[in-house]
């Protein structure tokens, strides 16, 4: 009863007009968040191509997903991407940030140049890299020839294509993390280094025991955001390879898109999206737990 009374009291002490402020969002939330969420559950159990009526098929979408080799292939491709992209991006960003942190002149200019690809449209970057990666006349292979090295089959070899996309994504995004690491480095109190060097710690040990732990929040951000980005990979394989060669760059998002728009399998595409979302949440939670336990130990 007290609960009810409290609610009544609080409703009476509400500020006039407060509900008008939130009403647009409540409408928006119901239409574009809540309804799609509920409808996604409905879709899980139906076969539907939008045109003909929905057909209830029980758990068949899940059964199909469990036996779908392309689903596993897309998961594996995403994993390949992440295993290369995350460490590469962290290493490059940390190196550039450490160097930038010690120089004074030109820091702003360097930072601005590293950040440039971040703001440019992914489509433009992908078209550009398609030419850089071209086997016969691409800039990268031309450079390799100039120093007497053989061509690399950047986008035509199934084992190389996904790593190539991971390198391109690193080039595009690393600027954000240079800036994040730089902010992190500047927030480390000088006294910590002074205390460490008084204790006789070498510069390398200082880096290991002072710098790295203090950068932990930035590392969490880099891992989590890159993971979410990896699972959202779409336009890069769509433009560069169409998912090939031999499905080696078929990303999760591209597979969902193909199921929905090439084959009209709305129910199955929604099921893929649902399962992918669960995988993303699981992976991100796991990463957080691992990184946080690493630093507390």
């Amino acid at each position: 009863m007290t609960g009810l009374k409290e609610i009544f009291l609080r409703a009476r002490t509400s500020d006039r007009g407060a509900y008008w402020f939130i009403l647009p969002y409540v409408v928006f939330f119901c239409a574009f968040v809540a309804y799609p969420l509920i409808f996604s559950i409905v879709l899980l159990f139906h076969r539907w191509n939008i045109v003909t009526p929905m057909e209830w098929i029980g758990m068949k979408n899940f059964g199909r997903l469990i036996g779908d080799a392309l689903f596993y292939r897309s998961l594996l491709n995403t994993l390949t991407f992440l295993v290369i992209h995350i460490p590469l991006q962290a290493a490059v960003a940390l190196t550039l940030a450490l160097l930038l942190n010690t120089v004074v002149r030109g820091r702003g200019l360097f930072r601005a140049l590293y950040f440039l690809p971040v703001v440019v449209s992914g489509v433009a970057v992908t078209i550009l890299w398609q030419q850089l990666y071209s086997f016969d006349y691409g800039v990268l292979n031309n450079m390799l020839h100039a120093v007497g090295l053989p061509s690399v089959p950047w986008l035509v070899d199934p084992h190389v294509a996904m790593p190539s996309i991971a390198i391109m994504a690193t080039w595009k995004n690393v600027g954000i993390y240079v800036v994040l690491f730089l902010v992190g480095l500047q927030n480390i109190p000088r006294e910590l280094y002074e205390a460490a060097s008084l204790d006789g710690a070498s510069p390398f040990k200082q880096f290991l025991h002072v710098t790295l732990p203090m950068l932990n929040p930035a590392i969490v951000v880099i891992v989590v955001l890159s993971t979410i980005g990896g699972f959202s990979l779409f336009i890069e394989p769509y433009v560069l390879t169409g998912g090939g060669p031999m499905q080696s760059t078929l990303s999760g998002m591209l597979y969902i898109y193909n199921q929905a728009f090439s084959f009209g399998h709305m129910g199955y595409a929604a099921t893929l999206g649902f399962v992918y979302a669960l995988v993303i949440l699981g992976v991100v939670l796991l990463q957080r737990r691992v990184i946080e336990s690493e630093t507390s130990s």
Partner: protein, 269 residues
Amino acid sequence: MKRMLKYAILTAGAAVFAYPFLWMLAGSLKPEMEITSLNLLSGNFSLQSYAQVLLKIPIGRAFLNSVIVSATNTASVVLFGSMVGYALAKLRFLGNKTLYMLILFTMTIPFQIVLIPQYILMVKLGWTDTYLALVAPTMMSAFSIILFRQFFMAIPQALVDAARIDGCTEVMILFRIIWPLSRPVIITVALLTFMSNWNEVLWPMMVVREQTLMTMPQLITIFTTGGQAETQLGYLLAAATLLSLPVIIAYTFFQRYFIESMASSGLKG
């Protein structure tokens, strides 16, 4: 000596990021035969490729579409985001906490889960191939509501109370008192929203088929993958340059805002 080495590495890094863009620009101006060369300069620069791109696809219209969609969404996200942010930070009402938790929860939902249902909703409403489909589902954003709320929390309650005693309505307080104090967060939200709308391509690819309604990234994606470019490198590079140039120009002038906004969104997100 050590300093020289540091600058050498930093400069090499800068070249890795800048050279491809310069190569793209140079390639878009060169005749087809010279594009694959590593050399950035040529005696035969011309606007031939641009003329061809403009002839083949309605890129002016696409530019306009991109501006319309991005500007509408930006205005809407700032307006409604600050309204909800203000209500959460400064107004007492039943369900305040619940709404806040709900918005935080919204931010954790991976978009993959709602993408197909949202598309179906557009079909059911008959909004595909209209501006509505491009604008409506991104008119408000949970993330910007949270950004506004955090910023408004730091504004002293006494200021709001004093304004109320002077007879200001809540609407006046938000737009006359809070907004002028909130330039940093407004700039951040506006820039992030505009950029993400300008560069968005997956959603337009789902809901728009009609060429006259396509935004720039979508039109150029279709141009690239659909065979219209006739595998002419110059056309592709000219299209990519046209797509990136507006952003690069804005970036050179407002570089600091871009970096601060996008980096801060990374920290908080």
